[in-house]
Amino acid sequence: MEGVLARQSFLGENSPEILGGTAALIAGLGGGGSHVAQQLAHLGLGNFIFIDPDKIEFPNLNRTVGATYEDALVGTPKVEVAARLVRSINPSARIKAIVGTWQENIRTVRGADVVFGCIEGFAAKVELERVCRAALTPLIDIGMDVHRARPYSISGQVVLSMPGCPCFICMGHVRETDCAIEEQRYGHAGGTPQVVWSNGALASTAVGVMVQLLTPWSDVTVASFLGYDGDLSTISPDSRYVNRRIGECPHFNSTSAYGDPFFA
């Protein structure tokens, strides 16, 4: 990547080494995850772990960066599309592409320096957060939704779950009732509504959060909960978080929340 990163030298003299030595895991290589993968490749990230059980289908082509008509025709695994995309930008990147679920690859998840959660479902987000917290791994979750209003309304969020800081439940990102009713909330716009520009906005913001954690370009504290208003095209600190009084997170403060709880 020599010379390629010259225009981002403001990230620090040793930023190429930091980014080159970092291992990022992306869980879910669809509309959000594929954007994240592409941007990390341009940034000069050195190590990629992609996990997704799905193959490209025609309905994915409206938003999955790198996916082609041919991929949909033959059913190329999403992780292979992402790997191909990254290699086309940085041939020396190390890539582990897993066709499967992250739950089946917990040991691999623990090896990541940062995890991007690009998965659907509140229960799954909470489950992934638990694994990341146990390994002291920052988790950056992105998600978008389309609701019935005016007649449709697009919203989303980028949420950083940082070890030692408020968790998804503390921040109000996930409520216990969400897990129970999530199936009913989705699908108002036909299938699970997703569009490329919203995914791109959220993914770009998530990548910025990661860079600010690894090679900060300013002394501004990384925002933990950014809300996306797709109707107004704005991203700002989410009121659900800003208006909360959050003390010490009570959900990850026991020994069983650290390491592998089954390690004897």
Binding site: T22, R107, R110, D113, L136, P163, P216, T255, Y258
Partner: protein, 172 residues
């Protein structure tokens, strides 16, 4: 076996603050870090959980070594390992900037007392850490391995994240 050590920034700073306090007669302070292990695809992960500071009255005057703790300090650490099902890592600070490493005496003493933690938690890894003013290093006695393994990667998780890893480190 590749072993990665991770600690939160707030805990790391708290340990520094504790260990750099002056003691009446001990030339340096020490403490015990309670950790939980996990397996990764390429080896092991040690996750720091809580620091056990050594009270002033548990240091013993000693003309030969700069810092000696009494049997009660060791008993407290072993009790924590037993009660909380945690790995124990002895910690001390070398007052310099840059990559720290253990003195010959540190290595000799560690080799004698660290395996004692297996008497209470034989299935868990235990070890020792040395902090400098801005870096850290460590050795880990992993169950089933005859010799201690050097941490090949150490991460301080905060803003910013600080990662120190050997050039040969591979996440997968």
């Amino acid at each position: 076996m590749r072993i990665h050590f991770k600690i939160q920034r707030a805990l790391y700073d708290a340990i520094h603050a504790d260990l750099r306090r002056r003691h009446e007669f001990a030339e340096e302070r020490l403490g015990f870090l309670l950790c939980r292990p996990a397996l990764t695809e390429t080896g092991g992960l040690i996750v720091a959980y809580k620091f056990l500071s050594t009270p002033d009255d548990m240091y013993v005057p000693d003309g030969k070594f700069g810092c000696v703790f009494n049997s009660e300090a060791m008993r407290r650490a072993m009790q924590a390992a037993l009660s909380l099902n945690v790995s124990i890592f002895h910690v001390h600070v070398h007052e310099h900037v840059g990559e720290p490493w253990f003195s010959r005496t540190d290595l000799k003493e560690s080799a004698e007392f660290v395996p004692n933690f297996w008497n209470v938690r034989p299935a868990l890894p235990h070890g020792t850490l040395v902090f400098s003013l801005n870096r850290m290093a460590g050795l880990c006695w992993w169950p089933g391995h005859d010799h201690p393994q050097r941490f090949q990667k150490l991460s301080i998780i905060g803003s910013p994240i600080q990662i120190t890893q050997e050039a040969t480190w591979k996440a997968f």
